[in-house]
């Protein structure tokens, strides 16, 4: 019998019903949580050029390396909220670019909100109301293993008298196996945008000519189901769409949801939120005014979705130093060819970095907070197996303390 329940930081659901007994975690059958809580420290010392040093010495070397760069990049950002807050402060002070790694799918979702808006809801709302659910592009369980259990097969939904009708539209290879899914409509990846367009067009009463690439009868039936739903919910994994189709697909989905909302309710839920991605976006919003793709190089925050893309900057060789941060994951720094400071979880392999600072995993080694993928609920993380490893926030503060006073 678990003595505590704790929250899990290993996907965007941040389930908070895991059991903790002594240092054993009951992961409630979740493979991602099992892998996450099985992580054990391997390297705990901080290093400068391979030589073990105290944290303060490593922080001083990191400050020197980063402070001397013309355009440092702060990326990775797989940290708890306190860590993210500290890293943005550091980027501001350094005049650095700060951006998550491989965040183009997340940025596509955010860009639509910035430029057109959103109709959306939190997990708790969907779990209690959704009666017709469309899953677009990919199996939500691939990102969030307990998605169906927590949101669609949950017992005790307040305002749902029968299980929801759950339909998947997407490639057969990505179809969810979960028994909650009642209908699977197969559409190839390169036809997903057309399928979304057809769904919206049918919803607006247009008659479409027959085509061999789209299952129009099934899409028509789904459009009718959404129109008849009390609380329709469209869930998408925008990363499953071809990159060039994402913006258009999202704009069409918003149009479809707005159309449906004239007569009934319909909300959208973008999948994501791994590695506290939503926390990083939100903290950058509150501290700087934009959800990523930020540069402080000019002494003011500047948002440039293309120019400040971390992957592009590294590929183009535009940076001259890298601060790589991965605590929630054990991800290694990308090959950048520039001097690197790596703030890494203690289970990450040895890094090819000039300065290596080893930190704890939030929710295992130390407490903290993480924002769920729905952007509203922040959950407290418990130190399931407390250790003396510093947090990302402590590492960032130590580096900041070694930078010369701001001018």
């Amino acid at each position: 019998m678990a003595t505590h329940t704790i929250a899990c930081p290993f996907c965007g659901l941040v389930c908070d019903d895991l059991g903790l007994d002594q240092d054993r975690v009951d992961v409630r059958g979740c493979a991602k949580a099992a892998a996450g809580f099985a992580r054990r420290p391997a390297i705990v010392e901080h290093r400068i050029a391979g030589r073990a040093v105290p944290l303060d010495e490593a922080a001083a070397a990191a400050a020197k390396l980063l402070g001397g760069a013309r355009l440092p990049l702060v990326s990775g950002l797989a940290a708890d909220l306190a860590g993210i807050r500290g890293l943005i402060a550091l980027a501001d002070r350094l005049g650095a670019v700060i951006d998550r790694w491989q965040s183009s799918a997340q940025q596509a979702n955010l860009a639509l909100q910035q430029h057109a808006g959103a109709l959306t809801a939190t997990f708790g709302e969907i779990a209690n109301r959704a009666d017709v659910v469309l899953l677009l592009g990919a199996d939500p369980a691939a990102r969030q293993p307990r998605f169906f259990e927590r949101l669609l097969r949950n017992g005790g939904a307040l305002y749902r008298t029968a299980p929801p009708h759950v339909a998947f539209i997407g490639p057969a290879a990505a179809a969810p196996a979960d028994p909650a899914v009642s209908e699977r409509v197969f559409v190839a990846e390169d036809a997903l945008l057309d399928a979304v367009g057809a769904l919206a067009a049918i919803g607006e009463g247009q008659k479409l000519a027959a085509t061999t690439t789209l299952p129009l009868p099934a899409l028509s039936a789904l459009a009718e189901r959404l129109a008849a739903a009390r609380y329709g919910t469209i869930v998408w994994d925008i990363a499953a769409f071809p990159a060039a189709a994402r913006g258009a697909a999202l704009a069409i989905l918003l149009r479809l949801m707005r159309q449906l909302t004239r007569r009934t309710r319909c909300v959208g839920l973008p999948l994501g939120g791994e590695d506290n991605a939503q926390g990083a976006a939100t903290a950058m919003l509150w501290q700087a005014g934009w959800p990523g793709r930020l540069s402080f190089a000019a002494g003011v925050p500047q948002h440039d979705p293309w120019g400040n893309d971390a992957e592009r900057l590294v590929a183009a060789g535009e940076i001259d130093a890298l601060l790589w941060v991965a605590a929630l994951t054990a991800a290694a720094a990308p090959k950048s060819g520039v001097p690197t400071v790596a703030i890494l979880a203690a289970d990450a392999p040895e890094a090819a970095a000039e300065v290596e600072i080893r930190v704890g995993i939030p929710g295992i080694d130390h407490g903290g907070a993480m924002l769920r993928a729905d952007a509203v609920v922040a959950l407290p993380l418990t130190a399931a197996r407390p250790s003396g490893l510093p947090s990302v926030a402590a590492a960032a503060a130590a580096i900041l303390a070694h930078l010369p006073a701001a001018s």
Binding site: T5, A7, D16, D17, L81, A82, R85, A89, D92, R93, L110, Q113, Q114, H115, A116, G117, A118, L119, T120, A121, T122, F123, G124, E125, A127, N128, R129, R150, G155, A157, L158, Y159, T261, T264, R265, V267, T282, A283, L285, W286, Q287, A288, G289, W290, P291, G299, V300, P301, Q302, H303, G367, A369, A375, V376, V377, A378, L379, P380, A405, A406
Partner: protein, 552 residues
Amino acid sequence: MITRLTGARVFDPANGVRGEVRDLFIADGRMAAPTDRADRSYDLGGLVVMPGAIDIHSHIAGGKVNLGRLLMSEEHRDELVARGPATRSGSGVATPSIFATGYRYAALGYTAAFEPAMVPSNARATHLETADLPIIDKGAYVMLGNDELLLRLVAAGAEQERINDYVAWMMRATAALGVKTVNPGGISAFKFNARGLAIDERGPQHGVTPRQIVQMLSRAVFELGVPHPLHIHCNNLGVPGNIDTTLATIAAADGFPLHLTHAQFHSYGTEGDRHFSSAAARLAEAVNRNPSISLDVGQIMFGQTVTASGDTMAQYRNRAFASPGKWILMDIECDGGCGLVPFRYRDSNFVNALQWAIGLELFLLIEDPWRVFLTTDHPNGAPFTCYPHLIRLLMDRSFRNDCLAAIHPAAQKATTLGSIAREYTLEEIAIATRAAPARILGLAGRGQLGPGAAADITVYAEDGDRERMFAAPRHVFKAGVEIVHDGAILAAPPGATHVVRPDYDPAIEGVIGAFFEQHMSVGLGHFRLSEGELADAGLSLVAQPCRPRGRA
């Protein structure tokens, strides 16, 4: 260390000081009794001293504000704040980044601002964000009245004591200073696809009326001894003719204190060719007659802003006026919602022009400055940076009439504003922006300069142009430390977070716990904030006194 401020005219209404020249003494961050010893002295001869100003209603942090920041990307790009020796960089005006928010408030002489619409499920994220808010004190009102559990309790006939326990539990769990209700019942109703809810209309599913919610919540807040009355955003925001709803809401409270927020948006009649008219006189008359009613105005100013509200039902209606044409609506966690709609108020637009006049009518027709608070419902009516302009409109009749002459001609004809002679005095401004907000929020030792009070002090240079005077304080002291000097931020220490902690019968936790266990996506133990985590995030909590008042 003892600091002495000499020679200034002091306006400290809470202590009956009305512009007399007084010396003030500061020791250890607090106001101190007069003494001969002073380590440091400021000669403030000819200047005006007031307590630091307090904004009772300003959307400065939380999920809704962050969605507003997303929608205001273009404005953020054009309004950049550079990093300084003591300050962080930032951006934005209507939805400024959190550092810019603190610096700008401080530079205007404000030393506290309160987030009025914290959804319970967003409490942790909101407080963690305000841990980054520099200089000014803060706190939040928790939004209740659309939370499914409360509606179910009311529908099931729960007794008032149970509701009181529930409200007290929620306030403690979310570290709140007050209780706000937004379109009571209406946000929940919108989730069931209702598009309107009148005060005596039974809402979908629960069959509960807004009147019942207002009655039970206003009484709960009073009986628990929470200093600030129920802070209410009435039903039918923005709808012509909504004055009837607003007056019915006052009646629904049945004598229990009520604070009507952004009352300008709730003071509309249906007269005239355009079926939109000012009902400010009717509301002012009701407020003048009912000493238990207070309000903040929610003045609009012409220009670009974004409306940010928990009222999804009203914001869905308002989407038609979005400028630029984009909007966000979110249903939240069976306890609330939020809607963001950018607005551009235009003086050439009849409705906007009359809204502007209605707000000013309210300020000028309500007689007791202790019960009318200076707000723009930032950012809904305008960014808080408009306050100096608003103060000039209140203090300077000829300036006001010049501005009136520039708005839509039909709106000029539809308002009595031009005939109102009243001009606010400096003392009245000090009441409406300092003494009265502190009193109605129950902030001990704030909004006044008596011995023992927090040494939060603003020093202005006298200027006949009141906008210029209030836009640029000479000095601002926070907890006795000079943090603003001639517009420059000298230091940015964090302010306090004010909370109240009413008592409750622990039995209520069983009811709430069972509901969370069966229906919610978060466990009760994780929903509730712990003081430890708030302290770890850098927040310092100050619990304000809360004395149960028993059954009335």
